[in-house]
């Protein structure tokens, strides 16, 4: 397929209400031309609604959508350069596979020869050659999903909106299609706005991810950025596994902070926005927690193993540290010592690996900021 060049998409202060509840609440983000952007969030958080507003299916109560710099206003879907892969697929049951895929091309009144060539190409792309004359009802869920993809891709969209397009596939096919989609997106240069509630999928495929909850866009950033620097407890929990320890800032040191959490005093990385005495959360990824035999460790905290699970490449422990539940995931190689349930161990982490997260409601004003250093409030700086 020829390169079509993706168009940039801008969403500004989007608001969409159903009744009294805001399904999309003041959402702002920008997607670059040819970028793979994911909207990630739990069920009902407003992902589909956001996508539908961009595609022109839903009228926003406030805010703007700009595609290629042009405001979309009330332009109907057939006059937008966006194409959508629907969450519920919406394949035409009275057409067979080929006519479903060819639909968009026929609407453009392309010559039939061209329609056939391009529809075949699209079907080959999603590995459905030979299925042309099947009825939609005669396809498996995964095959139907691939028809839906082909039906959109065949039009060489400049912006493709995908609403959980791989959710009906089994794990193996899903991983395969993830790679395939990523490759397609790179080759075609199409802008992808990809909705999913699967954080692994979003992390693996996207250039950038936007995390949504209850209609709000909480944070936008690269997968790495979001994993390493979650800006809210929700994001920390939603992306990967996280130990989130709540406490108050006890001391500010040049590179670290000390946080008092119950009976414990722990250390974390210092970002600069932290304020002495203010409530704060500390996010520690389980794989950054080390576990050692209680005796031979110089530092760390004392804890008791509550539970142990061996998952192949790692051993997962649940440890009670003075009433604080802590999860650790220790990489496993043959010979790695295992600790038994009930054993007392030493646990700890490198303070640089413990990330301060504003407690809910506090901290950052805006979620849509990739670089949080800009947001450093003027707090009491201590030497």
């Amino acid at each position: 397929m020829a390169l079509s060049g993706g168009a940039p998409v801008e969403v500004r202060h989007l608001l969409k209400r159903f009744g009294t509840t805001a399904a999309v609440d003041d959402v702002t983000f920008t997607v670059g031309g040819g970028e793979f952007f994911s909207l990630l969030g739990p069920s009902g958080c407003g992902k589909t609604t956001t996508l539908r507003v961009i595609g022109g299916f839903e009228r926003a109560d406030a805010g703007h959508v700009l595609i290629d710099g042009r405001p979309m206003g009330q332009l109907p879907p057939n006059r937008r350069e966006t194409y959508m892969v629907f969450q519920r697929l919406a394949l035409f049951p009275h057409y067979h596979v080929f006519d479903n895929v060819a639909f968009g091309l026929r609407m453009k009144r392309l010559p039939e020869v061209e329609v056939r060539r391009r529809a075949r190409e699209a079907l080959a792309l999603v590995r459905l050659e030979g299925m042309e004359t099947r009825r939609i009802s005669e396809l498996s869920g995964g095959q139907q999903q691939r028809v839906a993809l082909a039906r959109a891709l065949v039009n060489r969209p400049r912006v493709l909106l995908l609403d959980e397009p791989l959710s009906a596939l089994d794990l193996k096919l899903r991983l395969q299609m993830q790679e395939e989609l990523k490759r397609l997106q790179r080759e075609l240069g199409t802008t992808f706005i990809y909705v999913t509630h699967d954080q692994g999928e979003a992390m693996a495929m996207s250039d950038r991810v936007g995390v949504m909850d209850a209609g709000r866009l909480l944070q936008v950033g690269t997968p790495l950025d979001i994993y390493e620097r979650p800006q809210t407890p929700f994001v920390a929990h939603f992306i990967g596994d996280a130990n989130l320890i709540q406490g108050t800032v006890d001391a500010l040191e040049p590179r670290t902070i000390a946080v008092r959490a119950g009976a414990l005093r722990i250390h974390a990385h210092r970002d600069g926005w932290e304020r002495l005495g203010a409530p704060i959360s500390v996010c520690i990824r389980p794989e950054r927690v080390w576990v050692a035999a209680a005796g031979d460790s110089a530092g760390g905290l004392r804890g008791r193993i509550e539970d142990r699970a061996f998952v192949g490449q790692a051993v997962k422990y649940r440890i009670d540290v003075d009433g604080l539940p802590l999860r650790a995931s220790v990489p496993y190689r043959s010979g790695t010592p295992l600790f038994a349930v009930g054993e007392t161990v030493a646990v700890g982490w490198d303070a640089g690996q413990a990330v301060p997260v504003p407690a809910d409601g506090g901290g950052f004003e805006h979620a849509d900021v990739a670089d949080r250093r800009d947001l450093r409030p003027a707090g009491p700086a201590s030497a």
Binding site: G55, F57, P76, P77, N78, T82, Y83, M84, F86, R88, A90, L91, F92, P93, H94, Y95, F103, G104, M107, K108, R135, S137, R151, N155
Partner: protein, 282 residues
């Protein structure tokens, strides 16, 4: 499984009994007369195909069959032509549930009135000195009254009116069950709303159209009161033929005409049933 079967039988018994006693048995008893003869004003209970042969040798019979089919085709086409847009508008344009209920009730209100009463209403409206003709004449649109009564026009107008809800309801119910994301998908792929209608909505609603056709066609075919009261003897259809023969005690001929009517109805049911299976195979 066995218990389920027995329960089903138990549940079906009243309906099956009713059908047998009130429908199958009398129908069979009546239709058997077609195999008897009618000579010198008397039914002769011999087994013969004489009556059947005479029916099919008479050109009048074909005129009656043709008149019945023609009436049914015209009325079906008209009810669909009026009923589909109505159902579509009801579904897409009447958004408020309250307004929808009211429109639905209005639509079904003719069914509340007895056929006879309604037909006499039409008599008043369509007569030479009736409301329609008087108004048209006063508006200067016509000189002589239009013959709206006691001919095919009157019967068609009246039957179309009576059968309209039977067309609207199945179409509306199919439309309201349609997956409207299909229309959205078509819009997304570049179709304007006319193309969406022709390529998506209409084909998807065909089961409703076929069901509506089936109901309207068979009801028109067996309509009796309307052709009787509004046809003025000029609309000779099979049910009238059956009625007249039976009144003249010529049960054998009535039975043959009734059999033909039954066969035509069954043929319509079969044809449209096949069509329904075809369009809903998708």
């Amino acid at each position: 499984m066995r218990i389920e079967g027995r329960t089903a039988l138990l549940l079906l018994t009243p309906a099956l009994g009713l059908m047998a006693v009130l429908y199958v048995v009398p129908l069979a008893v009546y239709l058997v007369n077609g195999l008897h003869a009618f000579r010198d004003g008397r039914i002769v209970p011999v087994w013969t195909l004489e009556t059947t042969r005479r029916f099919f040798a008479d050109p009048f019979s074909y005129r009656v069959i043709w008149a019945s089919l023609r009436l049914s085709f015209i009325v079906t086409a008209l009810t669909l032509g009026i009923g589909y847009p109505l159902a579509y508008a009801l579904h897409t344009r009447v958004a408020r549930p309250g307004a929808r209920v009211v429109t639905g009730l209005l639509l079904f209100s003719p069914l509340v009135v007895s056929v006879v009463v309604r037909t006499y209403g039409w008599l008043i409206l369509l007569a030479d000195r009736g409301l329609v003709n008087t108004l048209l004449r006063q508006a200067g649109l016509i000189q002589a009254p239009l013959g709206l009564l006691f001919n095919l026009t009157g019967v068609v107008v009246s039957l179309t009116h009576i059968l309209l809800p039977f067309a609207v309801f199945p179409i509306y119910s199919v439309l309201s069950r349609l997956d409207w994301t299909l229309a959205e998908a078509a819009r997304d792929l570049g179709a304007d709303w006319q193309q969406v209608f022709v390529r998506i909505t209409l084909p998807q609603s065909m089961p409703g159209v076929v069901a509506a056709s089936l109901i309207c066609f068979t009801l028109s075919l067996s309509a009796f009161v309307t052709p009787q009261l509004l046809g003025g003897g000029r609309v000779q259809v099979l049910p009238l033929d059956v009625y007249n023969s039976t009144v003249e005690i010529n049960w054998p001929e009535g039975a043959v005409a009734a059999t033909v009517l039954l066969v035509l109805s069954l043929a319509a049911v079969w044809t449209l049933g096949r069509a329904l299976r075809l369009v809903s195979a998708a």
